[in-house]
Amino acid sequence: MLSDLPILSCIIFSPLLGLLVLLFLPKQRSRWLKTTAIIATLIPLLLSLWLYADYDSTKGGKTYEELSTWVDASLNKEVVGAVSSYSFKFQYHLGIDGLSLPLLLLTTIVGVMAALASVNVKKRWKSFYIWFLLLEVGMLGVFLARDVFLFFVFFELTLIPMFFLIGIWGFMNRERAANKFLLYNGIGSAIMLIAFVMLVSTAGFRADQVPDKQETHLSYSGSYEVIQQNLTDPASYVNAAPPANSQEGEGNPFYLSKTMRWSIFLLLLLAFGIKLPVFPFHTWMLKVHAEAPPSVVMIHSGVLLKMGAYGLLRFGVFMFPGEAKDWAAVLAILGVVNILYGAVLALVQKEFKLVLAYSSISHMGIVLLGIASFNEIGLQGAMIQLVSHGLISALLFLIVGSIYERTGSTQLSDLGGLARSLPFISGILLTAGMASLGLPGLSGFVGEFLSLLGLFDSMRIITAVAVLGVILTAVYVLRSILGITFGPMSERYAALRDARLIEAVPMITLLAFILLIGIYPSVLTEPMKHGFDALLEQINEKVGR
Amino acid sequence: MGSWLDETLTWGNALIFFLWGVILLALVLGFVSYAIFFERKVIGWMQFRIGPNRVGPMGLLQTVADIMKLLMKEDTIPRKADRALFILAPALAYVPAFAVLAVIPYTQNLYFADINVGLLYYVALSGISTIAIVLGGWASNNKYALLGGMRSAAQMISYEVPLVISVVGVVMLTGSLNLRTIAQAQGDWFWQWNFLPQIIGFVIFVIAAVSELNRTPFDLPEAESELVAGYHVEYSGFRFAFFMLTEYVYVYAIAALTTVLFLGGWHAPAPFLDFVPGIIWFLLKFSFIVFFLFWIRATLPRIRIDQLMGLGWKVLLPLAILNVFLTAVYMELFIKG
């Protein structure tokens, strides 16, 4: 029964259901509003859990695929000649595979937890949850879309609610943070759009012959599969070598020269690098981490940053495996720079949120390393690192929110000895810290270990430097977290109440997932097993190994 | 005249044209002198006076004497006047007045320029005089002159519109703007002349023409009681004379134009009167129009300015347009078949 449903659409759009209900609720009834929103986020979680259970890694996600025409804008066909149709064909194409499934799960889990954490929001609950649910729709869509423009639409859809969530409910400098967020991500998505437009107008072109009839359908398709196939198939018109006597690309408007391929790849790298964020483009993220409300940062740090890595993998690496492979070293170096830069700066921060922000940069560096390895282990490591960092940072910011609610500060110098008054929260914080610094048995370790292991295969020196960074992680995490939990306690914090049930539930749930992945990483690696095969095959073909 | 027109232009021919022009100029100057004389006489008789009777026999040299006086009178230009424009204005008024005479045909064979847009030429050039009058009023730097000039301009442009539209009916019937063709096209019998079929147009044309001439009952720009002497209050001597000259040359021109457009030009009123030369018929009709102008001057009082403007815009203009469409419908029904 369940399998007859368009399950992916249901996952994406079920939050909208909640949004509809929210619209008709009076805006003073905070309890109703909150309950509705939490339920609305629970539906996709349950659906995605079911999907996970139902997912068969050997068959891939083919059975869940949804495909229908979204935009079929016919073009003037007069001058082309005898064709029966000529159009822009963008599809409503959803699909799931080993790459998206873990991130989908991550999104739904963090979504529910953030919704739970949002009960702390002090004002304008109605509009908060409306934006929140819209944001969730966008995130879910990003991971499931299989059409470049559908992807772009969902990607942008995350942008606008985030702008509102930061700008209205954030801390003191919220507007500047919101602007900065908008500006950087706007530039990022604009660059992405340029790349997509270039791709669709060349590699997206397809001519379908209708069998048995004299009909040709020409179309520019946004389909991920079509583009990827055209780009990677050496025989396709995109790669067809032009006749020797003509100028490069003459007569074949779809030919992608080497420069073009590289420029598209670099554009994609840049676009997703900003989102990830890669070292020089990271400043917007710090602002967001510092200024956005904690529950929004949970989403942001937990899911939105992953969209960058996901996009880099799916569009950058899968579409241009050759170019990506050629730039593996660069990617790795960027990763190391991220790790070291993030770690060193996290070490000197005086604000706990900023420590976490820099640690995010550092951890995202590890993802880059995993991608740069270009082998199964490394890529799996990157994916696990993505999920694990999502969970851990969501948990950490949840705790930050709770602490801030009680103490009114996130300055490291203000906080101290909270273990005495807030034993439960402190305990969770410590565990989360351990997970973050990669203690074996917790999820962080698996991700880091696999990524570095994968990279060690090809780039040993870089791996060695990266490990140095990982050691630094331990230093700054311990410095800050131990400082908060132990040490001298300020008198005014003596009478604080420990976590309420509504806080404890998400903390424990997140921690449980962290533990689960740490102890039994196969929950994630299993569905991914065949996800990278095709990619690695192509890369190896290309590189000739 | 027609034979020379068809020849190739040489200096000799140009000289002949020039001489003809000079002859006409002399005739016109003579006409002006004696038109003024007769105006005074006619009005005198109508008012049971004798009119000028001292200079020469029956006062025939009165106007000549006046001209001599004007010629020898001191010419003052006010200090505050805009000198260049002040000097330019009378000449500018006079040039178009004389230039329009080029297109008027007198008989079948006696005409000067035979332009196929003759009527348009007349209308276009006569409009320039308005500018001269405004210019004269403005350049004098005098309140009376300025207001007189503005009034005059307002009046002239207001009546120019009905004047111009009233002849459209004639143009439609003839299908030409050539004054010679228009005169020729009118029939042999006097009821076939344009003034009967185009009676509305004719009446409007005459009224508007009188107003264009700034003559009584439409002589408001020069209303002595309000504006002293209007736009030429600061002019004296021969510069003043040129404004007067302009007015009377226009009298000549309008009288000739009316004859050509509405009164059948040189045609005799009936075919059996053809033995009398065309030029005589033309002069008779022409003289009648001139006399008519003197006659209404003696008869009618000056009207108020609001009446003047109201008449032009609210009565004559709609009537003129109505006339155009009546003509069109008439032609549609009876002529074009």
């Binding site: - | 027109l5 020849e7 232009l9 140009a14 044209f17 020039f18 003809w20 022009g21 100029l25 009178k73 001191e74 010419d75 003052t76 230009i77 006010p78 200090r79 505050k80 009378p90 000449a91 040039v95 007045a97 004389f98 080029a102 000067f112 320029a113 035979d114 332009i115 004098s140 730097n141 005098n142 309140k143 009376y144 300025l146 207001l147 307002a154 207001s158 519109v161 111009v164 539209i165 459209v168 143009v171 439609m172 299908g175 703007l177 209050v233 600061e234 001597g237 021969f238 510069r239 040129f242 609001d306 403007m309 815009w313 203009l317 347009i321 155009v324 069109a328 419908v329 549609e332 002529i335």
Partner: protein, 123 residues
């Protein structure tokens, strides 16, 4: 062609004569007339009183409105004349077209009338 040129030569001659007459007359007059300017002679004439204020006074804007009306209807005649000349050769539809055109202008006249443009008051 000759006729065409000749006609305009005549027109030119008439214009030249028109210019010559004032030039000659005024030049000749200069020899005949006296010239004894005094301050009083050169003051602006204002019925014998000392002139008050500027000579170029502001006058009623109504003059401008008449100028505007004139422009509108004068331009109408620009179209009316060619139409009238060629009227015989065309069908009824041309009459309708001109009726529409003129009708629109008459609406303009009505507009001016109703907006009291044609009503004259003071100077």
């Amino acid at each position: 062609m000759e006729r065409y040129i000749n006609n305009y030569v005549i027109v030119a001659i008439f214009i030249i004569l028109g210019i010559l007459l004032p030039v000659v007359a005024l030049s000749v007059g200069r020899l005949l007339r006296p010239s004894k300017p005094t301050e009083e002679k050169k003051t602006t004439y204002e019925s014998g009183n000392e002139p008050v204020g500027e000579g170029q006074v502001r006058f009623n804007v109504r003059y401008y409105l008449f100028a505007l009306m004139f422009v509108i209807f004068d331009v109408e005649t620009v179209f009316l004349y060619p139409w009238a000349v060629a009227y015989k050769q065309f069908g009824l539809f041309v009459l309708v077209e001109m009726a529409i055109f003129t009708g629109l202008l008459l609406i303009g006249l009505l507009y001016a009338w109703k907006k009291k443009v044609l009503k004259w008051n003071s100077i």
